[in-house]
């Protein structure tokens, strides 16, 4: 009999970033008792690091914008692998989600006529990103946090208890999604199993709806812009609960991360630097992006520097500079320049805004970047160029969901929104489309999670048995007394060492440019690391013990890393955030193919835990196809698809 404390809520949201908080607000506004469980302190989620803005076709700066244009840009950015319904809902609903933030107190930068200002960004045809300087993510998270507090104040007035209907369990980690029947992958969700960092205490929350909003997986890579929380928890929890992941081969390397000094390598340099006029140069001083405009984008980008420079003041009669190509294109170009020996002293390229804008303007528009470079690298970006290079930034892949309800495939009661969900961004996400994704699908997940919970009477609610709680508890305490085996490779393992080896393996073997042999090698190494991680041992006790937390996170990082490597090896083409040295071209036959990852305990030849399935991507509706020229469609769609049109 487990002694774990249990409490009952209607909806549990795992994660308190943009998607999680928006989901929680929605569920609570629908009257459901909602619990938010988050690894960090309330208000510290990774969303605070988002800089550039929220993409929403409000048309405040250029009235030509509209949801159809946004939809079209999103599909182009994702190389037509996006789930078309998700991209449509996203483009349609993003403006409402931004305006709603204003009613909760958000203060965006303004246009001259007092509306929300919008800035240019890679892959977006018009100025589209609502922003606050270069700290938009902070504004988003603070606004949602303050909205949560406002709802708690309402509840306090009514009941005398701030947490009567909306409670944040901060610095708590979910290690398992509980099921009605643990042995049945398709059985209903029954709640979550958690530990509290501060005390190490275990507790379970019984709830018929669980929304995963845990963000990404970047901490499996050595050079990343992601915070420590990004250990793929929600991805792994979904897999373990029986839900498949989709598009895991697509990992976005943001083209501009800091490269020096070593300790800050990977920290993000916002795309706004380029949106506001910054240019990329190699060691020879050449604006090399003009050499890297791919065929599919040639119509939409400037042919030379003169045209590109005119575009900032006259966008209607000139085409955009190639520095504003989608992120995958820019990252590959930088990678190629460095490889060709034309890199900067510390292995990046130069990003220069100092010769493009007056110093005061740079400080006004890019205050965080100015501060970050001055403080961490002794570089004054108003006077000299930055050195930048690609950094692991975002995973397009995630839990396979129903576009309208955000319900996970095959597991009733499980929902996913934000970075942890897959499909929306196809093979590559446009900058600015993440914050809008969080809001649009966070709200939808909260809404449908609430409806599912509300439709059940108390007697109809699924309940996890005590054995599941006991098993989850045993799994969580194992690092304090890892199993001792006979044999040479039975020594206890240092979780920090395993983590470093994992990051190195993913960086070297499943990074920005991939090859079959290397990914096979990665799968072998991952299987070995997983066996070692089972023997990860920690010192001390359960109270705020980071070694223990890491030992538990390793399970998740290793699982999602295997998904990335396995799906990437399978997809024999290059598209968006998946570049194959041995298959450099985009293959139209692969466009309709989604790769799904499922947990598989049978352990294949390479000792893996994941198997792949293929599934067709739904067709794009005719009225949405009509937004594109035939010539453009012919570059992406198979002859059969074009013919059917």
């Amino acid at each position: 009999m487990s002694t774990v404390e249990r409490q009952s809520w209607d909806v549990v949201v795992v994660g308190a970033g943009g998607a999680g908080l928006r989901a929680a607000i929605e569920a609570r506004e629908r009257g459901l008792r909602t619990a938010v469980v988050c690894k960090s302190l309330f208000g510290k989620a990774h969303t605070v690091m988002a800089e550039g803005g929220i993409a929403a076709a409000m048309g405040n700066v250029n009235a030509g914008d509209g949801w159809q244009v946004h939809f079209r840009d999103t599909l182009r950015g994702g190389k037509f692998l996006n789930h078309p319904r998700m991209a449509e809902l996203h483009a349609r609903e993003a403006p409402d989600r931004v305006w709603e933030l204003e009613t909760w107190g958000a203060l965006f930068d303004r246009t001259k006529d007092g509306r929300i200002s919008q800035r240019n960004f890679g892959g977006h045809e018009y100025p589209r990103l609502a922003h606050v300087g270069d700290r938009t993510g902070l504004e988003l998270i603070r606004t949602l946090q303050q909205r949560v507090v406002a709802l708690q104040q309402e509840d306090f007035k009514e009941s005398g208890d701030h947490e009567a209907r909306l409670k944040v369990f901060q610095e708590c980690t979910v290690t398992r999604v509980l099921k009605e029947d643990a042995a049945d992958q398709g059985s209903r969700v029954a709640g979550v199993f958690c530990y509290e960092r501060e005390s190490g205490r275990f507790f379970a929350i019984d709830a018929p709806s669980v929304v995963l909003a845990t963000g990404g997986i970047g901490k499996s890579f050595k050079v990343t812009s992601n915070s420590w929380e990004y250990t793929g928890d929600g991805h792994a929890l979904a897999l373990l609960a029986g839900a498949p992941l989709v598009n895991m081969e697509f990992v976005q390397f943001h083209p501009t991360g800091m490269v020096w000094p070593p300790s800050v390598k990977g920290i993000l340099v916002t795309e706004s630097v380029r949106g506001d006029g910054g240019v990329l140069r190699n060691s020879e001083g050449r604006r090399f992006m003009f050499d890297y405009i791919p065929e599919v984008f040639r119509e939409q980008y400037a042919k030379d520097e003169a045209e590109a420079d005119r575009w900032y003041t006259d966008p209607d009669n000139n085409r955009r500079p190639p520095e504003l190509l989608p992120r995958d294109e820019v990252a590959r170009a930088i990678n190629a320049e460095v490889k060709a020996g034309r890199g900067s002293p510390h292995g990046g390229v130069f990003l220069d805004v100092s010769t493009r804008l007056p110093a005061a303007e740079i400080e006004r528009r890019l205050p965080s970047m100015h501060h970050q470079f001055k403080q961490l690298a002794d570089v004054d970006i108003t006077k000299e160029p930055m050195e930048v290079g690609p950094t692991c930034h975002y995973v397009m892949g995630g839990v396979d969901v129903d576009p309208d309800t955000a319900a996970a495939t095959g597991v009733p009661g499980l929902f996913a929104a934000g970075e942890v969900a897959g499909g929306m961004h196809g093979s590559n996400r446009l900058g600015g489309n993440s914050l809008s994704d969080l809001l649009v699908f966070g709200r939808r997940a909260g809404l449908h999670a609430a409806e599912l919970a509300a439709a059940l009477t108390a007697g109809e609610r699924p309940q996890a048995d005590e054995a599941q709680l006991a098993a989850a508890e045993a799994e969580a305490v194992r690092p304090f007394a890892p199993p001792v085996d006979e044999g040479a490779d039975a020594a206890p393992e240092n979780p920090y060492a395993i983590h470093q080896e994992l990051q190195q393996a993913m960086n070297d073997l499943v990074g920005i440019i991939r090859r079959e042999s290397e990914m096979t090698e990665a799968l072998t190494r991952l299987a070995a690391l997983r066996r070692r991680a089972e023997r990860a041992a920690v010192e001390g006790h359960r109270q705020y013990n980071p070694g223990w937390h890491l030992a538990l996170d390793l399970r998740n990082m290793l699982l999602v890393s295997e998904c990335v490597a396995r799906a990437a090896r399978e997809r024999t083409e290059s598209r968006g955030g998946h570049t194959r040295d041995d298959h450099p071209g985009m293959d139209r036959a692969w466009r309709r193919v989604n790769l799904l990852c499922r947990l598989d305990d049978s352990q294949g030849a390479d000792g893996g835990a994941v198997r792949l399935e293929r599934r067709d991507l739904p067709a794009i509706r005719p009225d949405l196809l009509d937004l594109f020229d035939d010539d453009e469609l012919a570059k992406y769609l198979t002859e059969e698809e074009v013919k059917d049109r």
């Binding site: 007092g114 303050q146 501060e198 300790s263 961490l376």
Partner: protein, 260 residues
């Protein structure tokens, strides 16, 4: 990748313990070029002290999680370069003193979340639909400065009103939340007054603005360089004073309240 020619061994004294007891422990740790305090703490965790408790998230100065006192001064560990200190110096790292210790460098910052709940939320203007908000850039800039706050709570930690006066915590919101009051009061569209909510009265009566005697310690430690005292607290004191001493305002309020 790391250039070892510029590496050296640093001497650290780190406070370790919990709510019951604790003390400073000495460590010698390798430091590489460009590193910050948090890098060195992480190296300690990966080598000598795997269970050393420290709170951190972004390691980029954006989330405000990793506050600690370094040689007695509240700082973010991720933004404090090791090059700030002499190579032969002993650097002392202790938890934020104003908040109860949980373990090692981690403190219970719950005080701040309690105070956040006591600040009445933004009141949207009635009859203005979403999408119809119109504000001038000059008018939003004042509040935008305060919304740069990353809630690292270094200002709350350093403020002498509560730093050594536990008894003041009840009545005093601290610089971060007094600034939040100023932010809302200066928000061009906050409609608090229409709801009978007088932020200028509340800031003194409910949140203890009067305790602040503008020593500017909060401004000095702010990692976002927000001019908390000059731009938020002093103007708020002036606004609150106008409210208290202006007989017309006083009369107006009386009449409005009676009507309700």
């Amino acid at each position: 990748m790391t250039d070892t020619s510029t590496s050296y061994d640093a001497h650290l004294r780190v406070w370790r313990g919990d709510a019951g007891s604790g003390g400073l422990e000495d460590f010698t740790v390798q430091v590489n070029e460009g590193e910050v305090i948090l890098d060195v703490i992480h190296r300690l965790q990966a080598t000598e002290a795997p269970d050393l408790a420290v709170r951190w998230n972004c390691k980029a100065g954006k989330c405000g999680s990793c506050g600690a006192e370094i040689d007695g001064r509240p700082r973010l560990m991720c933004m404090t370069r090791m090059s700030l200190f002499a190579q032969d110096a002993t650097i002392t790292i202790t938890p934020l003193r104003t908040f109860p210790v949980v373990r090692d460098l981690v403190t219970d910052v719950g005080f701040n979340y309690t105070k956040a709940r006591e600040i009445p939320a933004f009141v949207p203007p009635e009859g203005v639909a979403p999408g119809e908000y119109r504000m001038r850039q000059e008018d939003v800039e004042r509040s935008q400065e305060f919304r740069k706050c990353i809630e690292c709570f270094l200002c709350q930690d350093v403020c002498h009103v509560v730093r050594d006066h536990e008894e003041n915590k009840q009545a005093f919101a601290g610089p971060r939340f007094l600034m939040r009051m100023a932010e809302l009061d200066m928000h061009p569209l906050d409609d608090a007054e229409a709801q009978g909510l007088d932020r200028r009265r509340a800031v003194t009566e409910d949140h203890g603005l009067g305790y602040c005697n503008i020593t500017k310690c909060c401004t000095e430690v702010c990692p976002e360089s927000i001019k908390i005292t000059d731009n938020a607290l002093i103007p708020m004191k002036e606004r609150a004073a106008d409210r208290s001493y202006d007989p017309l305002v006083w009369l107006g309020n009386k009449i409005r309240r009676r009507r309700e």
